[in-house]
Symmetry: C2
């Protein structure tokens, strides 16, 4: 069984994402992807599309399309960066802030309960996951691309 880590991670995450998406759509009328984007802008200070793409681990075209939609929905403010360059400056609208804060706490508690149910030590698993992610970042940067 131990040679199936990549497969299990893939499937576990796919199911968590699907469940999160179902809950958010049903109870809050927003997709998980969009909620993550708003969260990162609002709480981790992703202030350009490039930065947001890095935080999310997706490419710039994905972010470009998503910010267009979120702006059209009135949740995200997208402005040319006053500091110059071709950057966009991202920030939440009042409505965007309201959505994120009303959802976040309750949603994370729900996920933590699922983990607790499994008997897996949350803190340790979270720490290992974070460390794998950091290592992956480093290896990819070292590999040039």
């Amino acid at each position: 069984m131990e040679q199936n880590l990549s497969l299990n991670l893939h499937v576990l995450t796919a199911r968590l994402d699907r469940a999160a998406d179902r809950i958010l759509r049903a109870e809050h009328g927003i997709s998980y992807s969009r909620f993550l984007a708003l969260t990162l802008v609002g709480e981790l200070g992703a202030s350009t599309q490039r930065t947001l793409a890095e935080y999310l681990g997706v490419t710039e075209p994905s972010v470009s399309r998503m910010t267009t939609v979120l702006a059209a929905d009135g949740l995200l403010d997208v402005q040319p960066d006053p500091a110059g360059g071709n950057r966009r400056r991202l920030s939440l609208t009042d409505e965007g802030k309201r959505r994120v804060t009303s959802i976040r706490q309750e949603f994370e508690e729900r996920l933590a309960m699922v983990v607790a149910h499994s008997g897996v030590p949350y803190a340790e698993y979270a720490e290992h996951t974070a460390r794998l992610l950091a290592t992956f970042d480093r290896l990819e940067r070292e590999a040039g691309k």
Copy 2:
């Protein structure tokens, strides 16, 4: 940081998947999704589309489209199940078998090396991941849907 497990899992898996996909496409001319499907048919005995969908953690329409493509590419054999019903019986073609076996060993070793690099204990992390997945399966089944 510990309240970001869902986000970190999402991002870690997205990056692992992307890297796996890049390697497989460049060196073996096949996508990661299709490789996973062939692997599950070849090694875990996913013999109907329904079963394959469960193993992959995706829905039936996704599998339906993929089996059509894999059959057209000559890697997968899709036949009406002789036992009757509306089932399809899935099996690898000779070319499909050749592709899977030539890729699998080398590819898994590569992933294990990345994990080793991070200092995270492979066996423990793999076991926790498997347990989370099993718990999730159980909870979803209990929840009716």
